[in-house]
Structure formats: C-alpha cells, structure tokens
C-alpha cells in the first residue's frame, strides 16, 4: 500500500495554486508547439528554459515537464488533421489517423488519439512510480547492445508492418539510415560524404527532412486540385458526437490500450532509443495481433490508439533513467536535466533517496498535464478538425508559410528551407509509390544510436555482444513480432487439418 500512499502524497503535493497556474500556462504552450508543423517541441522547451532561473525546483520543473508531456498530444493533432506529424514519434499516427480524416472521420480519430494520449500518459506515470524504488538495476540492464537491438527493432518493425509492401518499407528504412550517414560522425571523427559543403558537415537535418517528407506532399495534394483534406466525406461538419465516439473507442479496446501503453513505458526506459521507437513498436504489435490487420493503413481506429497511448506512456518511462541516473531517456529529457541542474538539483541514485517525494510530484505533474491537455483538446477537437474541411487553396499557402517559417526558426539557416523542398520531392515520390515515409524517418533518427551502439558493443564485448539476457529477449521479440502472422496461420492450418 506504500505505492498508493506515494501516489496520493505526490498528488496532494502538486495541488498548489502556483503549480497549477504554471501548468495551466505551460500546457497550451507545449500543445501549440507540438501541433504546429515546423515548430518542434524541443524549441518550446528551449524557450521555457530561461524562465526557470530563480524559480523553486518544483515550480521550474513543473513548467518544463508539463509543457513537454503534452507535445506529442499536440503532435497527434496535426498528424491526423494534416498528415504531418508534429514530431517524429507522431509519424506512426499519420498511418491511420490521416486516412480517417480524409474519410471525414477526423473528429473520431482525434477523440481516440487524445483520449489514448491522456490515459497513456497516466499509465506511464503509474508504471514509473511503481518501479521508482528499483529503478537502478532496471536501467543498468540496458547497455549498448540492448540499445542497438531496440533501435534495429524499431526500424525493422515499421518497415515490415507499416504502410506499403514490406520490400519497399525495408528500402525506405535503409534509405533513411543511409541519409543519416552523411556528415560528421561521432565514432571516427570523420565527416562523411560532405563534398566540401559546410551545410553537409553535420549531415542532413531532421526538421527539413520530416517536413519535406510529410508536409510537402500534402501541400501538393491540397494545392493541385484545391480540395479540402476531407474531400472524400459526404458530411461537411465535424460534430462533438464524433469526437466523443472516438474517446469511447479507447475504452472499447482495453487490451490494445494496456498493451500499447506498456510497450511505451518499457521501451521508453531505454535511454536514447526509447522515445522514437516505442510508437512504431506499439503500432506494429497492434497490427500483428489485430483481428482486422487488413484495415491498418486505411483508417483503423486501432492504428491510432496504439501509437498514441504508447507515445505519452513513454514519457513516464523516459523520466525513469533521467531521475535515477541523470541519464536522459530522450532528447526532451536532456533539456529537462539541464533544468534540474539550473535549479540546483542533481538527479542520480542519491537524488531519489533524498527526494523521492519530488520525484513522485514530478510524475504527478506529468499525469495531470496529460489529463488536462487531453480534456482541453477534446473540447476543442471539433473546431480544430474543421480544418479538414477548409478549402485546399486557402490551407495550402498558409501551411506552406508556417512550414517555411518554422524550418528557418529551427536552426536559423536558410539552406534548411531549400532542403525542405528537396526532401519534399523525395517525399512526393515515396508517397506516390507507397514507400513508407515513417520507416525512412525512423531509420534516419535512429542511425546514430544504431551505428554508435554497434561500434561500442563490438569494441567492448566482441562479436558475442548479443549473448546477453536482455539482448536475447529483444531479438526473440523482434523475430516473433515479424513472424507472428505466419506462425498464427500455420497454427490455424494445423488445427484445421487435425480436426
């Protein structure tokens, strides 16, 4: 029962007017940055960081955490409404969320995504608090070999199971990895394939790539015929009833929700990889175990619930190594860590022994922010979803302006804006030919982790680096995940021939 007393103490600790006010201010901020394509959630955190100087620890951390916790909630909205993921982890939501929007079911998709996000976030927190006392041994189980296999698993899953044929998915994933090889490389200190261009010294950038791949093709679609996103639907209005229906769908799929959230929480614990990989793993697991896998990619509500519940659950998971070790579980957590130090705190094993209550308080901040953000967005969903009925010739140029501004704002480099269009061309081709863009993005994002962790694993442990218990488990899950449908078919066939 200590678990529940911890939770209730943490909850009461957070129920202070100043903290609630701070969260109230930070949440819309995080939502907007997550939502608007071109503005990255990390930029939001970077902007908030100077404000925490001089604040009390819980206040400053509440500001950062509550903004951060809801970024993916906001990102799911643009993934569904515009087909443009607010941040890379939301790319899995595009796969089914956007087709739903095109069918005029954008309200339902949003309802499901928001409810899944909010509840998933709370689930992640519950898991976090449960394992808080034994954080250290858990985090220490995941070393470089485990990081390598997890990263590989993420790419392999989405390549095999994501949109489009498997062969094309694998090509996309590999191409994403290949593009990430350009530029300065940490392992050898040599910049590869930079052809003397300063821009390419660090390789291609994620924001022009992500926006180019996802936004430009949608802009072409909107602008070519001037039709709205939801041009396939007969209705022209989104009703609150539809949004509510979406929310209820989450409750109608409890097994799916818990499974996806669990995947998020667990995978999120692994530093460096968890953040990007978990929604794709959740999506793949959902598709492989669904009764209607053929609906995935065409607007299946399960394809929306799975990645979104895991997306927010993983943030609770990512908080784990951050608090336990001061090792950030994701890029957002790295910023948060900076916040800790600025406030004079020092996350690490000693930290939790002295400040367990603060740790739980932070977990509660995440939970409450998730709930609040989901509730607010659900109320606004109907209106936001109306964007899907906005005429293409109005939406397209405005969106283009936002994309251009957001891209420039990310690194203040005008070349980035040019590259949005270069990758836009690539994205258009990939979309037309059914190559999975999500696989490309994921491959791109994870290459550093893949190459570095492989290099380290080989150097530290030699060729047998995979013979570790956790690595073997991951490899087994990877194989199982990909082969599950075949296994199911064989088992069914055997049962049929036996009877």
């Amino acid at each position: 029962m200590e678990y529940f007393s911890l939770l209730s103490e943490g909850f009461l600790r957070v129920m202070r007017p100043d903290l609630l006010l701070i969260m109230l201010a930070a949440i819309p901020f995080g939502l907007i940055f997550g939502l608007v394509p071109g503005l990255s959630g990390l930029t939001a955190l970077a902007i908030l960081l100077p404000f925490i100087y001089g604040m009390q620890p819980l206040q400053g951390l509440a500001l950062l955490l509550s903004a951060h916790a809801v970024i993916y909630t906001g990102g799911s909205v643009s993934a569904i409404i515009l087909g443009i993921p607010g941040s890379p982890p939301n790319a899995a939501t595009v796969l089914d969320g956007f087709p739903m929007a095109r069918q005029g079911r954008g309200g339902e998709a949003m309802g499901a995504a928001l409810a899944a996000s909010g509840l998933g976030g709370i689930f992640g927190v519950l898991v976090l608090v449960a394992i808080l006392p034994i954080l250290e041994p858990i985090v220490l189980l995941f070393g470089s070999p485990e990081t390598f296999f997890l990263a590989l698993m993420g790419v392999a899953f989405i390549a095999v199971v994501g949109e489009g044929p498997m062969q094309k998915g694998l090509i996309s994933g590999a191409l994403g990895i290949f593009l990430a090889l350009f530029g300065y490389q940490s392992v050898t200190g040599v910049p590869r394939f930079w052809f003397g261009s300063d821009y390419l010294l660090d390789g291609f950038r994620i924001i022009p790539l992500a926006l180019g791949l996802f936004a430009i093709p949608e802009l072409i679609a909107l602008s070519s015929k001037g039709r709205a996103v939801a041009h396939d639907s007969d209705e022209s209005k989104i009703t609150f009833a539809q949004v509510k229906e979406g929310v209820w769908q989450v409750f109608r799929h409890p097994a799916l929700f818990f499974k996806s959230s669990a995947i998020g929480a667990v995978v999120g614990v692994v530093p460096g990889v968890g953040g990007e990989t978990s929604p794709f793993v959740a999506y793949a697991a959902a598709k492989q175990t669904s009764k209607h896998p053929e609906l995935f990619g065409k607007g299946s509500i399960e394809g929306v619930i799975a990645p979104e519940s895991s997306n927010n659950a993983k943030e609770g998971g990512a908080l784990v190594p951050t608090l336990a070790f001061g090792i950030p579980g994701s890029t957002g957590m790295a910023l948060l860590l900076g916040g800790f130090l600025i406030l004079g705190l020092e996350p690490g094993p000693e930290f939790l022994k002295e400040h367990m209550d603060l740790g739980v308080g932070l977990a509660m901040v995440v939970a409450i922010s998730n709930l609040f953000a989901a509730a607010v967005m659900i109320l606004l969903a109907r209106h936001i979803a109306q964007i899907t009925h906005l005429e293409g010739h109005i939406l397209a140029p405005l969106l283009l302006a936002v994309v251009v501004l957001g891209t420039f704002a990310s690194k203040q480099n005008p070349m980035d804006v040019v590259y949005v269009f270069v990758f836009g061309g690539l994205g258009y081709i990939l979309k037309e030919l059914s190559y999975s863009r999500a696989a490309l993005i994921l491959g791109f994002v994870l290459t550093n982790a893949i190459e570095s962790s492989l290099h380290i694993s080989l150097r530290s442990y030699g060729w047998l680096f995979w013979m570790r218990p956790v690595s073997l488990i991951i490899i087994a899950l990877l194989a199982l995940g990909i082969l599950w449908p075949t296994v199911k078919r064989r088992m069914r066939a055997r049962k049929a021939s036996a009877s």
Partner: protein, 341 residues
C-alpha cells in the same frame, strides 16, 4: 538604434570628445541598443548553454545590448567557431567555446576547420577544469599502478576521438605508458558514465566537477588528477606527477594536456574587432565573472566559474601551437587519432 539612444549616443560622443581620449565611452555607446549574437556549441540546458544564459542578463544590463542566443553543436563543436571567425569584425558576435575541441580542430587539421585560434580575439575564460581519471568498480584493476604493472589493456570511454575527455585520456595514457583501449561513440558524458557504471568500460576521464557528481556514493573510484596540482574537489587524489615517476618526455605530454584544458570554456569574438570595443568587452566580462555573487550563483547550479583573462588564454593557445614542430605535430596526431584505437 532607437531615436532616444541615438541622441544619447551623440551626446555621449560629444562629451567624450570634449573630455579627451575616452575610447571606452565610444565603445559603450556603440553597444547600447545593438543586437548581439552569442553562440555556444552546447544544447539548451547543457553546461555551455547554462553558462551562456546565466551570463546574458548581466551582459544585457551592463551594455544595453539585446542578446540573441544561438545553440549549435555541429561539426564537433567547431561550426560555431567557424561562424564567429568569419563574422563581421564589429564585436557583435560572441562565442562561448569548447576550448579543447576547438584547439583539436586546428591542431589535427580536422576537416571543416576554418579558423586560426592565434588570430581570434580572446575575451575571458568562464571555466577551465582539471580532468580526473576514474576507474569503475567493475574494472579489472583496483588501482592505476596495478593497471600499469599488469599491462593488459583496459577500456576507456569517451564521446569521440577529438572530444575533451578522449584526448585527455589518450595523452595521459601515452605519457604514463598505460595500455588503454579507447571506446568512443557515446553521445555525451552521461552516456559514458552510464557505460562505466554498467561495466561496459573500465575507466573514464571527465572534468572535475562532473567527476565529483558521478562518483558520489562510491560508484566510481578516482585514481589520478591530470594536472600539476591537485584538484580542490578531490584533495586526496594524487596527480599524475605524484603517482608516477615522470620523465621529461612524459612531463611534456602531461603539460601539453593541461594547456588544452587551460582554455576550457572560453569567450571569444572575431578577429580584427576595433581595439576599444574589445577592451570594453573584456572589461565587462571580467566584471561579470569575478563578481562574488555571480560566482556563488553559478556554484549553486553546479557550474563553477574559474576565471582567467585573455592574456592567459592567448598564452595557452600559443603554448599548444608553439610547442609543436612538424615532428611533434605528427606525434600528437598519432597519439590522439590512432594509437589507442
């Protein structure tokens, strides 16, 4: 500039002319109301960023500039140095740099390095730390002497070949005759600390403040201080000179290593900035960094200040480049880039 500050500047300039040579006042007037770009290689929330952002409000108050902070760790922390070096020589581009990476870039002819540190205008140093060599509890050796005697290789973790801790480990190992195997590819110091705790590597060489943080609870065992004097944070840890009999050749390498960290986190601006503006900037930053209250504030954030003026920095830079003839330079490149890989 706004109309009001233009008039103010004009009046000030007139007064200055009347009062006699007072170039500093011209410089002060120049900065008022301008936009200044302050660049750093660290990402938001990290060490460099915290130093920069803590300084910015003081800088703005003392000079009237509006500071635009820029975080860009690209090119191994060297892209921002390129940008500063090539910026307009008006004193409105400042850089808080990773001293070691910056030196390494020029020293080792790393591709994409487009600056000459001997021409950069150094302003002050915010922080320069000694490096501590730490063993992990799981390492095969109990002490560094044992490691040297037994002679079998042990693994040292670092971010990259030309990262500060990587170079420190390589140079120290060469100087002391240690048989190490560098394991690089970790994304940051916290990553290789995690690896150390897991036993993935046997030793690491972080800065003294990081070492202090991570060795709490006895998980990591400090072995050596890589400098001529002991660290204040580790008064019981011997220096390399105390723990081993150090030949002149070895001393050369150990001192060379120290010169690198002498530069540390330093603030600089582009070459050819007018002398009066440079002097003004140096004065302002010295005031900020030597203020006791500011130092205490930074200590609370676990980001200590160890101030040094521009002369110290220039000396350290010329020590590094001056010490090397072609023969030595080849040796340095071999030690840092090849020997332990």
């Amino acid at each position: 500039m706004t109309k009001r500050s233009s008039i103010f500047a004009f009046a000030l300039a007139a007064a200055a002319l009347a009062a006699g040579p007072a170039a500093a006042e011209d410089a002060a007037a120049f900065f008022k109301g301008k936009t200044l770009t302050f660049m750093t290689p660290g990402s938001p929330g990290g060490g460099y960023d915290t130093y920069m952002r803590s300084i910015i409000p003081y800088l703005e108050k003392k000079t009237g500039v509006t500071v635009v902070p820029v975080n860009d760790g690209g090119g191994g922390h060297r892209l921002v140095v390129n940008k500063t070096y090539a910026a307009k020589p008006d004193g409105l581009t400042l850089l808080l740099t990773d001293g070691e990476a910056t030196l390494a870039g020029q020293l080792l002819d790393v591709p994409g390095t487009r600056y000459d540190l001997q021409k950069m205008n150094w302003i002050v140093r915010a922080n320069g730390e000694k490096r501590i060599f730490l063993f992990t509890k799981k390492s095969p050796y109990k002490s560094i002497q044992e490691a040297k005697t037994v002679g079998k290789p042990f693994k040292v973790g670092a971010v990259g070949k030309t990262s500060a801790e990587g170079m420190a480990a390589a140079l120290a190992a060469h100087a002391l005759g240690l048989n190490i195997k560098m394991v690089i590819g970790y994304k940051g110091s916290r990553e290789f600390v995690r690896a150390a705790l897991q036993g993935e590597v046997d030793a690491i060489s972080p800065s003294e403040s990081s070492a202090k943080r991570f060795s709490k609870g006895g998980r990591l065992l400090p072995q050596l201080t890589l400098a001529r004097e002991r660290s204040e944070l580790f008064p019981n840890v011997p220096t390399a000179f105390e723990a081993f009999k150090v030949s002149k050749e070895s001393a050369f390498w150990l001192d060379f290593n120290s010169a690198f960290s002498e530069v540390g986190r330093a603030i600089a601006t582009s070459p050819n900035v007018p002398a009066d503006r440079l002097a003004f900037l140096r004065k302002v930053f010295t005031e900020i960094l030597t203020d006791k209250a500011f130092q205490a504030e930074m200590a609370k954030k676990r980001r200590p200040i160890s101030y040094a003026d521009h002369k110290t920095l220039e000396k350290a830079v010329s020590t590094v480049f001056g010490a090397l003839n072609a023969e030595r330079k080849k040796q340095v490149q071999h030690i840092i880039l090849e020997k332990f890989y």
